[in-house]
C-alpha cells in the first residue's frame, strides 16, 4: 500500500509519449494540472473539468480517457500519450493530424487535442468506422467553432488511410 497525506507531494513516475518522466503531486492534483504545470506538457487543454467537454482527452495505456477525471498519483508507473506524442520527432504530422489540417477540421484549436486523442484510440480499434459511428464516438468531445462536419470528414479520411496500412499516429 502507498499512502500520501493531504498537502504532501509524492513523486509520480510515468511514461509520457515514450519517455520516462517524473514530477511531484499532492493527492488532489488532477492529471490535467499535473501534465500542464508540473511536467510542462501544455498541449492537453482544460475545458470543463468535470468530464463533459473532452478537451483534456489523453491516452492511458492506449485508451482514450479524460485527464480531468483522474488524479496525477493514479498514473504512477503507467504509460500516457498526449497531443505532443502524435507528430514524429521531426515535427511531421501524423496521418490523423494531416487529415485535420487538409480538411480545415479546426478553427480556434482549443478542443483539437482532445478530438485527436479520442480518434487515435477509436480509429485504431475501429478502422472500418462509418460516418454515424464516428459521430457517436465524437459525441463526448465538444467543439464550439466548427459544425463538426470537417472533423468527421477528416476522421473518415484518416480511417481510409489506416485501412490502407498507415499507422494512425507516430507515437514515438
Amino acid at each position: 500500500m502507498r499512502t500520501v497525506k493531504r498537502g504532501e507531494r509524492q513523486l509520480v513516475r510515468f511514461t509520457l509519449n515514450g519517455e520516462q518522466v517524473e514530477g511531484l503531486a499532492e493527492p488532489r492534483m488532477l492529471l490535467t494540472d499535473f501534465l500542464r504545470h508540473e511536467i510542462g506538457a501544455m498541449g492537453t487543454h482544460v475545458g470543463c473539468e468535470h468530464g463533459i467537454c473532452g478537451a483534456c482527452t489523453i491516452r492511458l495505456e492506449g485508451k482514450a480517457v479524460r485527464a480531468c477525471l483522474m488524479f496525477a498519483v493514479q498514473v504512477d508507473g503507467k504509460s500516457v500519450v498526449t497531443i505532443e506524442g502524435l507528430a514524429d520527432k521531426n515535427g511531421e504530422l501524423s496521418p490523423l493530424q494531416a487529415a485535420f489540417h487538409r480538411n480545415f477540421a479546426l478553427q480556434c484549436g482549443y478542443c483539437t487535442p482532445g478530438f485527436l486523442l479520442t480518434l487515435a484510440d477509436y480509429l485504431e480499434r475501429n478502422p472500418d468506422a462509418q460516418e454515424s459511428d464516428i459521430r457517436t464516438a465524437l459525441s463526448g468531445n465538444l467543439c464550439r467553432c466548427t459544425d463538426y462536419s470537417e472533423i468527421v470528414n477528416a476522421a473518415l479520411e484518416a480511417a481510409r488511410e489506416i485501412r490502407s496500412g498507415k499507422s494512425v499516429a507516430q507515437e514515438n
Partner: protein, 275 residues
Amino acid sequence: MKPASFDYARCDTLEEALELLAVHGDDARVIAGGQSLTAMLNMRLLQPQILIDIGRIKSLSYIKPVRSAIEIGATFTQGELESWPDVKRQLPLVAAALPYIGHFQTRNRGTICGSLCHADPSSELPLCLATLGGEVVLQSRRKKRDVKAEDFQIGLLSTAKRPDEIMVAARFPQARAGWGYAFHEISRRHGDFAIVALAAAVGDGKIRLGTGGLAEKPTLREWDKMEDKDLPDALNDFAWDLGGSDDIHATARYRREIVRRIGKKLIEEARRCAL
C-alpha cells in the same frame, strides 16, 4: 473546480482497503474508475477525508459465470465488458445498454460496480440490474453479504451499502432460454443523462419493464399473461403511477408518452429477440 484536499491510499489488496474503510467509514470514499466520483470531487459536492484507491487490486478485475449469473468484479470496466466476447449472448440487455453509458472515453475507465454504487436514478446499469433481478456482493472487514438489486438502491444516489463496505462484485443473471431483452433511452444528445431509460425482459408469458430517470431509483413493473390488446392500458397505468415531474429537460406528460410508446415498441422488440 479543484477538489478539496484529501489523503490518498493506493491499496494492493482488498484486505488493506477494507481495513482502511473500517477505520475511516463515512470520511472515506472508495475510488476505482472514478468517472462519477472525480467529477463530484471536482465540484466539491463531496469532500472526503481520504480516498481509498482500489483501482490496482488485480483480484477485483474479473468476469466469470457464477451459478446462473455473470459475476463482475469491482474494477472491471464498462469498456472491458463491452469487448467481452460473450456479452451479447450472456448479457444481451446489458450489451444493449452499454453504448448509452457516458462516452467511450468514460467507459474506458468507468467500472460496472462503480456505476451501481453511484446509483444515479437515470443511469443504465442500475436499471439493467433491477430489471434482470440481479444482486451485488458487499464486503466489510468482518463479513460479506449478497444484496438483491431491489434492496440495494434505496433512493437518489443512495444505497444499502454501509460505510465500511465495498461492493466487491455484481451479479447479472444470464439470458434465459425463451426470453428476449431490449433497451432504449431518450436523451437530448448521445451520452447525456436519460430523460427516460427503458429496459424490457420478456419470456415465459411474463413481461418485465424497468424505467430509469422518472423516480429516485429504477422502477419495475411485471405483468403475467398480458393480452396484446390490454398492453396499452397497462403501460398507461404504469406511466401514471411513475409520477414523473416537469423539469428543464422534459415535461411529465412527455415522460409518460415515452413510457407508453417506447415501452410498447421495446416489449415487441424483446419478444422478437427471444432466444
